[in-house]
C-alpha cells in the first residue's frame, strides 16, 4: 500500500515525494509463536491464542499464545530458579558481558527490529529506525556497565537484587519499554518475566530469540504474551518480588491496590497531560518544531507527549498560524515509508478512544482543525489535530487522549502559565520555550513534573532518570536512579 504520495497532494505541497518503502524482506515472521519460558518457546497450557495485526493494513501478522495463570506460574518458577541458582550467583562482571552481548546483537539486527516494530506497532520507520532501536541498544549498553559497579552506585556497600521482576509494558514503544525494564533488572541481578502489550508482542518475541543467540542462561528472561488477565496474574503472583509497570494510570492504580499489604516493590510509569509552554520571547520556528515533535511524535502515543500547548496570548496567533502551516506538511501514511511522519494508530480501540474524546472536544465548544489529509482505506488512522479555545475544564484539557490531538490554551503571565501547567493530576513532563535563561530555570523549578524539556521536547537518554510526579506514577527509570527500583539496600 502506498499512501505517502497522496497524503500531500491535497495540500498542494511544493514537493511531491516518490514512495520510499523500507523492505519487509528483512523480517521473518512466524505464523505462530509460543511463550518464551526457561530459555525456549513452549506451547501455552490452555492452548489459546490471539492474532496480532498490522494497524496500517489490518493484515494478520501472526498468531500469538495467550498465557494463562498456569503459564505465568511456570514462567515465574523458571525465573526464580534461574535467579537463585545462576544469575544471582554469577559475578557482576559476567552479567555485564551478557548485557553487552545483547546490546551488540540489537545493533546487528537493528534494521530487522525497526521494520518489525513499525509493522506491528504502526509507527513510522523513521522513528523506529532512528529513535526506538538505537535507544534500545543504548539502554542495554548503559546498564551493562553498571552490573559490575553496583557497590559504587550509592545504594550502600552491599546492594542486592530483589529476586524475580514481573514487568508489564505498553504498546507505544514496545521494544524501548522492554529495554527500560529488562536492562536495569538484569544488571542488578534480578531475573524477569515480561509481558508485552497484546497488540505489539512481536519485537519482544524477537528479543527472546536474541537472548538465545546471546546464550543468556535459561530462565533469566521469560517473555509471556497475553492481555490484561495475563498481566494481572503476573503482577499478583506470589513469586514476584518486584512489579514494574508502564501504562495507563487506571491500570497503575489497580496494580498499586493489588500489591497493597504485600512485600512486593513497585514502580509505575503512568499517564500524563504535559504542558508545552511557549513564552512570547521563544524562538518561534524552533518552538513550532518542538510542538510538532511534542504531540505528533509516535502519533501522540507517548505518555510524556506535550498534549497541552500553553502559548502566551501576545504570540498565540503567530504561533498557531505557523503551526498549522507546518502541520500541513506532515505526511501521514505507510509506516514503512521513509518519508512518513505520522503512522497508524495502534489499534481500533485506541482510534475509537481518540475519536470519542475529539468529539467531546467539539461538543464542549473547542475549535477543531486538521490539515487536509488523505486517510488510507484500510487500517487505523487519525489526522494530526489541534483544538483551539480550550478551557482548563474541558475534558480534552484534562484527560490523556494518547493520540495526535493537541489542546491549545493561552496565558498572559508566566505565573498563570505555571499555574495552568500544574493544574492536572498528572506530572510526568513539561516543556518550556523561551530565550531567557533565568525564565527557563524559574519555570523548571515551578513545574511539578519529572522531566522538563527547555527549548526541546521528547528527548530520551539512558543516563537520564525518567518518571512522574503525582498520578503519573512513582520510581525512576534510566540513569543511576533507575537502579534503585531493582535493589534491596539499607
Amino acid at each position: 500500500m502506498n499512501v505517502s504520495k497522496g497524503s500531500t497532494s491535497s495540500t498542494g505541497a511544493m514537493f511531491d515525494y516518490a514512495p520510499a518503502p523500507e523492505s519487509r524482506s528483512v523480517v521473518d515472521i512466524a505464523s505462530s509463536y509460543g511463550l518464551f519460558i526457561d530459555g525456549e518457546f513452549v506451547d501455552p497450557v490452555g492452548d489459546t491464542s490471539f492474532k496480532t495485526i498490522s494497524p496500517a493494513t489490518e493484515e494478520v501478522l501472526a498468531e500469538v499464545s495467550e498465557a494463562s495463570a498456569e503459564d505465568v506460574d511456570r514462567a515465574v518458577r523458571a525465573a526464580r530458579t534461574a535467579q537463585s541458582r545462576v544469575w544471582s550467583k554469577m559475578s557482576g562482571r559476567e552479567r555485564s558481558k551478557y548485557l553487552y552481548r545483547i546490546a551488540r546483537i540489537i545493533q546487528e539486527r537493528s534494521r530487522e527490529l525497526a521494520v518489525l516494530e513499525s509493522l506491528d506497532n504502526g509507527k513510522p520507520i523513521r522513528e523506529s529506525r532512528d529513535v526506538d532501536v538505537p535507544l534500545v541498544a543504548a539502554y542495554f549498553f548503559y546498564y551493562a556497565g553498571w552490573a559490575d559497579k553496583l557497590e559504587y552506585a550509592g545504594f550502600g556497600p552491599d546492594p542486592r537484587p530483589l529476586g524475580v521482576a514481573g514487568q508489564v509494558i505498553p504498546w507505544n514503544f514496545p521494544l524501548l519499554m522492554l529495554a527500560w525494564k529488562i536492562a536495569p533488572a538484569l544488571a542488578t541481578g534480578n531475573t524477569v518475566v515480561l509481558k508485552p502489550a497484546e497488540t505489539t508482542p512481536l519485537t519482544a518475541l524477537l528479543f527472546a530469540e536474541i537472548c538465545q543467540q546471546a546464550d543468556l542462561p535459561r530462565g533469566v528472561v521469560n517473555i509471556i504474551t497475553g492481555a490484561g488477565e495475563t498481566g494481572r496474574a503476573l503482577v499478583t503472583h506470589d513469586g514476584v518480588d518486584k512489579v514494574a509497570f508502564t501504562g495507563s494510570t487506571d491500570v497503575g492504580r489497580s496494580i498499586a491496590k493489588a500489591v497493597a499489604g504485600s512485600d512486593k516493590k513497585v514502580t509505575l510509569e503512568l499517564g500524563g497531560k504535559a504542558a508545552n509552554i511557549v513564552f512570547d520571547d521563544a524562538p518561534v520556528d524552533q518552538a513550532v518544531e518542538g510542538i510538532v515533535n511534542g504531540i505528533f511524535f509516535n502519533q501522540g502515543h507517548v505518555c510524556c507527549a506535550g498534549s497541552r500547548l500553553l502559548v502566551q496570548e501576545s504570540v498565540a496567533d503567530d504561533v498557531l498560524e505557523r503551526l498549522k502551516r507546518r502541520m500541513s506538511t506532515l505526511r501521514l501514511g505507510d509506516p514503512l515509508d521513509k518519508n512518513t511522519d505520522i503512522g497508524a494508530i495502534n489499534s481500533a480501540d485506541q482510534l475509537e478512544k481518540i475519536r470519542q474524546l475529539s468529539e467531546v472536544g467539539e461538543a464542549e465548544g473547542a475549535g477543531r482543525w486538521s490539515p487536509a489529509c488523505e486517510i488510507p482505506q484500510h487500517g487505523f488512522w487519525f489526522p494530526p489535530t489541534i483544538f483551539t479555545g480550550v478551557s482548563q475544564a474541558h475534558r480534552i484539557a484534562r484527560e490523556e487522549i494518547f493520540g495526535p490531538v493537541l489542546s491549545v490554551i493561552t496565558f498572559r503571565t508566566p505565573a498563570e502559565a505555571v499555574q495552568k501547567a500544574n493544574n492536572t493530576p498528572f506530572g510526568l513532563s513539561a516543556g518550556v520555550w523561551t530565550d531567557k535563561g533565568s525564565r527557563i530555570l524559574w519555570a523548571a523549578d515551578q513545574l511539578r513534573a519529572g522531566v522538563v524539556w527547555a527549548n526541546t521536547f521528547n528527548k530520551f537518554d539512558p543516563t537520564s532518570p525518567f518518571g512522574g510526579y503525582k498520578e503519573s506514577g512513582y520510581g525512576r527509570e534510566g540513569g543511576r536512579h533507575g537502579l534503585e527500583a531493582y535493589l534491596a539496600h539499607s
Binding site: 499489604g261 503512568l270 519529572g450 537520564s464 540513569g479
Partner: protein, 292 residues
Amino acid sequence: MPTADSRLDVRKTYKLYIGGAFPRSESGRSYVVNDGKGRFLANAAQASRKDARDAVAAARKAFGGWSGKTAYNRGQVVYRVAELLEGRRVQFVEEVQRSEGATKRQAERAVDLSIDRLVWYAGWADKVAQVVGSANPIAGPYFNFSLPEPTGVVVVVAPEESSLLGLVSVLAPVIVTGNTAVVVTSYSRPLPAITLSEVLATSDVPGGVVNMLTGSAAEVAPWLASHMDVNAIDLTGVSDASLAASLEESAAENLKRVRRPEDGPADWSADPGMDRLTAFLETKTVWHPIGI
C-alpha cells in the same frame, strides 16, 4: 493533702497542632492519657476526620513557601528546632519518662538522641541534592541535570512506643527536604508530640509545615490515606498489618507514595542512614540543548 503553704500546679491542656495554632478537636472529644504505671496524666484531644482534613489543608497551604525556601534556610530552621529542644531538655526528659514509663537515664538518652538527630538531619538540607542529584552525560548535544524535589504533603503515622525519638526520627527527614507533614502521633504516648509542637510553634518553622493529630490512627489514618490532596504516607507507626494493607490500598487511589511499616521493632538509636531522607523525594530532570 493540700496544706496552707502548698501550691497547686497549673496543668497544661494538650490540644492539636494545626496550621500553627493549637485548636481542640472540632469533635469536642478527648481521651485519657495515662503514664507508664497507669496513672492519669492528661486528657488529650481526640482528632476527628474534620481535624485531619483541616491539617491537610494547612499542610498544602504551607507547602509552596516551605519547599520554596533555600535549602540553607530550611537547614537553619530545623537546626533551631534542635536548639529549642535543648533549652527545654529537662521538661522533655520528664515528659518522656512519664509517658514511656522509662527510667530517667533512658529518657535522657532518648531526648539527647532526638536533639542530635535533628542536628544531623538539619545538615542534610543542603547536601541531599548533591548526593542524589546528578548531571547526566547525554549522548547528544544536550545538557541535563536531575535534582530531588519534595513530594508534597506527607502523612506520617508516628511510632507508638518511642514518643519523642521515634517521632523526631520520622518527622525530621520529611520536613528538612521541603515536604510538609501531617503527623498522627502515638495514641498512648501523645504528650511529647504536643510539647514538641510548642517548640515548633516558637521556632522558625512556618505554621502548617508540621501538623500534629493526637488520637487513634485506626480512626484518622483512613481519611488521610484516601485524601486526594495528600501525596505520600509513611505507615511506620501502623502495627496492625491489616490496617496497613487497607491504608496502602486507599493510598493507591491517587498513587500516593507509601512507606510500609518495618518488619519487627525499630531501633531508633541506630544510625538512620539516608533511607528516610530519600523516601519522599521526586527526581526532576531538566534538559536544554547545547549550541551556538
